[in-house]
Symmetry: C2
Subunit: 718 residues, 2 copies
């Protein structure tokens, strides 16, 4: 019977031909299911005009044709020979704009921005999408279609927007053999072997999805770089991708392996002050631009985790970055030099190194260099305080590096909506120029008057049919793009847009899903690393709990280094009595975090070593609170499961089953986290699990013995 | 303009939503486009009955419902409450059959076979699908749907069929990290990390496709095995897959790493005669059957290419195989012990080793052991003579191992239809029991009276959306399944079925594509390894030409070992004056191949070292003939390109472009092969390229310098 039932389900799935396999992302364009709205849209939009011709405008036209046809189920024609139409795309510089007197100031709109306004032409209402550039019009097209997808009111639009940040970039940690470091959605989209001759249609869909959310750059290769990508053979392949991405407004970037002059250039050194080395890079960069005339530039990971760098030659990061920047400058290329560094000597506190190495270099970088800084000082944990470099290098533009892929957040199977994590960092106040000196103001250049600005997200995209492994992982790609464009958007706004475009426009469903998404990151923190705990994941692969990890090649690759649990207490003392990493922040921040009383409890064990019986704000002891958090986290995953289950029949079966299956895994793994961590920390606290909480069903030894030798996302090691 | 044109093409592709991305394989069920045929089918098939209930029969029902609805565009109902219907599926044992007097002898149909006959019930015509088993009915269902898909006449059917071979198995060389050894269609379908909790809907589609062509077994893991697959953790994952595959009639098999008792069992030896080792395997196998009650058994690669085996303990292959067979026998499991062996000492002629090691063991294997023999004595070359073990071990059932994935045949981008290669081997006469002792009779058990029979194909399937990388690669999966069922089918028949189901039923298109497919294997032989040349591919990855490969860790891993080119001539002398590998064949075969005159020229350089000025049947010298073959091969790829191009507009744009792109790559690479090999062999022959043939556009050094460090299909080596 059970088998028969299984088969029944199965058959239902497989005969659906996987129409709802998630491939369409948020660009579905299914018919508007609200008849009133549908009719009003149908009346309003009957034809359109695009002034001008270009590959990018052709994309806008095709998008409008396909989008409106799908959404409105009527053919909307491109009225090229008509004088006006119900929808018109044109540039500020066009004769059409000179005739109309629109209430938009072109100077308020940047090169990539756009305006959408309702106006009256010959007594007929027209919606105008206006921009300075073709890509601005493409962005406006996607925005307009979104208004309809989300069933917004479009009767009288008056909207303008420009990106707050110039370079909005995905970082792909993709290797040339198509494995993806920290990738959990299958393997690399880039089928290097078949390039440049064979163009997978999916490359276009990738670019289109990015364009729809304003992403304008993509770094094709892993920061742990391979110099082969810079050879002629591979540059031809890179050029093929760049040609596809160009009309979508997307520039291609590569990672530069610092030792490339030795590895593929036959030089004996990669010393950045060596004349031959500098000439080699200049030639190489000129060669790249012959293949890709609008090549964006390099991301460089140097002198970090074994990667070569200028320090190998007793030079500093600025020496390295400037050498590349100088050769890129004539072509308008940029260097994004990563601040995520740690050298071969194990430090007292690893989180201090970036600031120690980079702050002294402030002011010594060329003008086309950005220093790329992770959101937090450690490494993409479920929660970290903001990185102290933000605000600390006013003379240097800093580019934010977020991680969209869930390296430390349950891989692809955990539903964790990351916008709140991104926002928490962006909204953090560095106080470096007084109150209100938020990280976002550092990043968008407004705090220190930089015009070169950037934000990077480590992509969660692979060749899985649904792109991101988890369908909800798509929301993180989406949210990154939206926040990169406008960091003042709220997480709720973005979630709502995404839900409406991707899953449902029905208010009760939108509300339910929004609550799930908005809660999901805090839930993950609770079942993984509550109260400021960090980096206690499984060794190397970072999958599942591993608070017991110790005795590894480096102390700062172990968990015990970070949680510092012992019989009296737990937590990493980063105050003046400890590593004093705190001193890297501005005084007001030090005062908050440095005080056991004022420190927000979510960061407590990040900054303080705290006694097990420390009284928390709740009145509970630290031990009891810690246990409670773990149990709350796991319980909340059950809540998410129930919420999702209540949508059965309201979401198509294929996506319902997909998410349901993943939530089952998430719940199982949340229990694994809870039981492992509570039992492990109990060996130090020697205290009972608080009353009323169910006891773990297995002893600690069981959890410690679990091994996951083929967890995805790491380079296979033979 | 060029860019604009590119974009135009692009847009056309991406707005089609990839309906024709190849995912549907040959099970498309699009509406019959011939109105006359359509009407006759619609009249004939209005309802159906399936007697009985089971997961497998439910699949048959769903397949009929979806298939007939798609093909005939009318709802065909399952008439469960009616006495008769226009289509009825029932078993020979059913009351219904006892009533009807059908002209079928149940004894002629084997357990998996089926019969389809038109009969008259109550004066109404009915088509009956009759079998002994549920899976027989499922196979009959697919066959019946195929008749309609291929627009066959179904007015009066009288058809019966039973598989000639019992075990029809795919071998997946899939690693637990999802890389696939010699896989060119992306990565492994098996997402081990998410199993057993998450069931990718694609697992069902995989099983369904296999069932549609009669494949009844799948080996999930690489023959270069990892013992982890035998741990509890992984057996749960294996069980999840087995549960999905079971209703489709597909058994799951694994590869057994011989040293598993040491690696995961904590024993100090894996000696097959050691009591503890034997007990360990017995326990392990009992454990497997607790997870998978119908587990099929093991494939073992032992003492070959560094894999451990019984010889490590001075035991022989029979000792190893029998130990496993004994433990599997109570559960009806089998062992497929591979004869592809070579040890650490480099032999005079590697092709001799399998026979040297295995022939003496004939008669010493347990009754549930098959020895798995590759089609040829070397390693899946574009052309090899049949393996001399066929016919040489009459007391031992041999299972054929074909390679469907194109390791030595251009990877996924070359259009090479492999049925002619498979058939060439199956139809070869071993003469071991007189004329007519074909390889197929060895394999199907009829020559030596074996009832345990098998055929294995190394799968070309990966997670590429179209399953096999190249859409035409699907035809090789299809052809393997069809020949495994019935090796007497012709390559043309199979090609025609596949074309009609997959691409078109229009006669002129069918003819054109059939000619291309039928010619394609010979064309590949010509531009790669004409006249009996072999194993001159690029080193390790086997991509592209590498006739110059020498000085590698083993002589038999080089090309010069195999082609033996020198100033006087070329070819491997395997006659009595050379390695005498020829002696491994029966006398009549020796007489043919051993004679420079009688030896078919397609095997000439396989068996003989031949002078450059040797006069060929054409009257040309060997050198001229060799050049001509290379040029003919490359020219013929251009011919294929032109043939395909003539179909533009007749094949949907997405698949047209896909194949067109791949043919461009194939042509480029055929020229690479031609130029490399002709220039390289010219350094020995010192003769001119015959008049009228265009000269290679680059010097030999250029071709020799090409490197492909990330060619797919090999384990990455860090």
């Amino acid at each position: 019977m059970k088998r028969l039932f299984l088969i029944l389900i199965v058959s239902l799935i497989f005969f659906s031909s996987h129409a709802e396999d998630g491939y369409r992302l948020w660009l579905r364009y299914d018919k508007i299911n609200n008849p009133v709205k549908l009719e009003s849209y149908q009346k309003l939009i009957t034809d359109f005009i695009i002034d001008g011709e270009s590959p990018t405008l052709l994309l806008a036209r095709k998008e409008l044709e396909a989008g409106l046809k799908g959404l409105l189920e009527q053919d909307i024609t491109h009225a090229s020979n008509k004088e006006t139409a119900s929808l018109m795309l044109t540039k500020f510089s066009s004769p059409r704009i000179k005739q109309l007197k629109l209430n938009i100031n072109p100077d308020h709109i940047s090169a990539e921005g756009f305006s959408i306004v309702t106006t009256t032409v010959n007594k007929n209402k027209s919606i105008m999408i206006v921009a300075h550039s073709d890509v601005g019009l493409l962005y406006g097209t996607f925005h307009f279609l979104k208004l309809i997808q989300t069933q917004s009111d479009i009767d009288n639009i008056s909207f303008e927007t420009s990106p707050k940040i110039k370079h909005r970039i995905l970082n792909h940690w993709d290797n040339l053999d198509r494995t993806v470091e920290r990738g959990y959605a299958g393997f690399s989209l880039w089928d290097w072997h078949k390039l440049p001759d064979y163009i997978d249609p999916r490359y276009h869909d990738y670019a289109r999805a990015n364009a729809s959310i304003g992403i304008n750059g993509t770094v094709l290769t892993n920061v742990n770089a391979n110099a082969q990508i810079l050879t002629e053979q591979y540059l031809e392949k890179v050029a093929a991708l760049a040609n596809i991405f160009r009309p979508y407004g997307i520039k291609v970037y590569l990672t530069a392996r610092f030792s490339a002059p030795v590895e593929i250039g036959k030089l004996t050194t990669a010393d950045p002050l060596d004349t031959e080395v500098r000439q080699w890079w200049k030639n190489k960069i000129d060669e790249i631009y012959q293949h890709v005339p609008d090549f964006g530039g390099f991301v460089v990971k140097a002198n970090s985790e074994g990667q070569p760098g200028p320090q190998n030659y007793k030079r500093n990061h600025a020496d390295g970055a400037n050498m590349l920047a100088e050769a890129l400058a004539p072509h308008n290329g940029i260097v994004m030099w990563r601040a995520f560094v740690y050298d071969n000597e194990v430090p007292i506190d690893r989180v201090k190194q970036a600031q120690n190495e980079f702050k002294p270099l402030d002011g010594s970088f060329k003008s086309n260099v950005l220093v790329q800084v992770k959101n937090g000082p450690l490494d993409f944990q479920p929660r970290e305080p903001f990185h102290p470099l933000f605000g600390a290098m006013p003379k240097t533009p800093l580019i934010m590096e977020f991680q969209i892929t869930q390296e430390y957040l349950g891989f692809a199977t955990h539903l964790v909506y990351l916008a709140p994590l991104f926002k928490e960092c962006l909204d953090s106040d560095t106080y470096t120029k007084g109150k209100g000196s938020t990280v976002s103001k550092v990043i968008d250049g407004s705090l220190d008057n930089h015009t070169l600005t950037g934000i990077a997200g480590v992509a969660n995209i692979g060749n899985d049919r649904n792109w991101t492994g988890h369908i909800f992982g798509q929301s993180n790609w989406y949210a990154f793009g939206r926040l990169a464009w406008d960091h003042q958007l709220t997480s709720e706004q973005i979630a709502e847009e995404w839900i409406r475009m991707t899953l449902s426009n029905e208010a009760s469903i939108v509300d339910k899903l929004k609550k799930m998404m908005m809660g999901s990151r805090e839930i993950a923190v609770q079942y993984m690393t509550p109260l400021g705990l960090h980096h206690i994941m499984g060794w190397n692969h970072h999958y599942g709990p591993g608070p017991w990890i110790k005795d590894k090649p480096r102390a700062d690759w172990t968990s015990v280094y970070y949680h510092q649990a012992e019989q009296n207490g737990i937590g990493f003392n980063r105050t003046t009595t400890g590593s004093n990493a705190l001193e890297q922040y501005s005084k007001p921040v030090q005062e908050i975090y440095g005080s056991l009383e004022k420190c927000p409890e979510e960061f407590l064990l990040w900054f303080h070593h705290v006694k097990w019986d420390h009284k928390m704000k709740s009145g509970r002891t630290l031990w009891d609170e810690l246990c409670l958090k773990y149990y709350q986290g796991a319980d909340s995953v059950r809540w998410m499961k129930n919420e999702w289950n209540s949508l059965q029949g309201k979401i198509d079966e294929e996506r319902f089953n997909h998410v349901n299956g993943f939530l089952n895994i998430q719940h199982k793994e949340a229990l694994l986290w809870r039981n492992s961590c509570v039992l492990y920390f109990q060996t130090f606290s020697k205290k009972e699990i608080p009353e009323g909480l169910e006891k773990p069903d297995k002893p600690l030894a069981y959890y410690e013995a679990l091994e996951f030798p083929f967890a995805p996302g790491i380079k296979p090691r033979w």
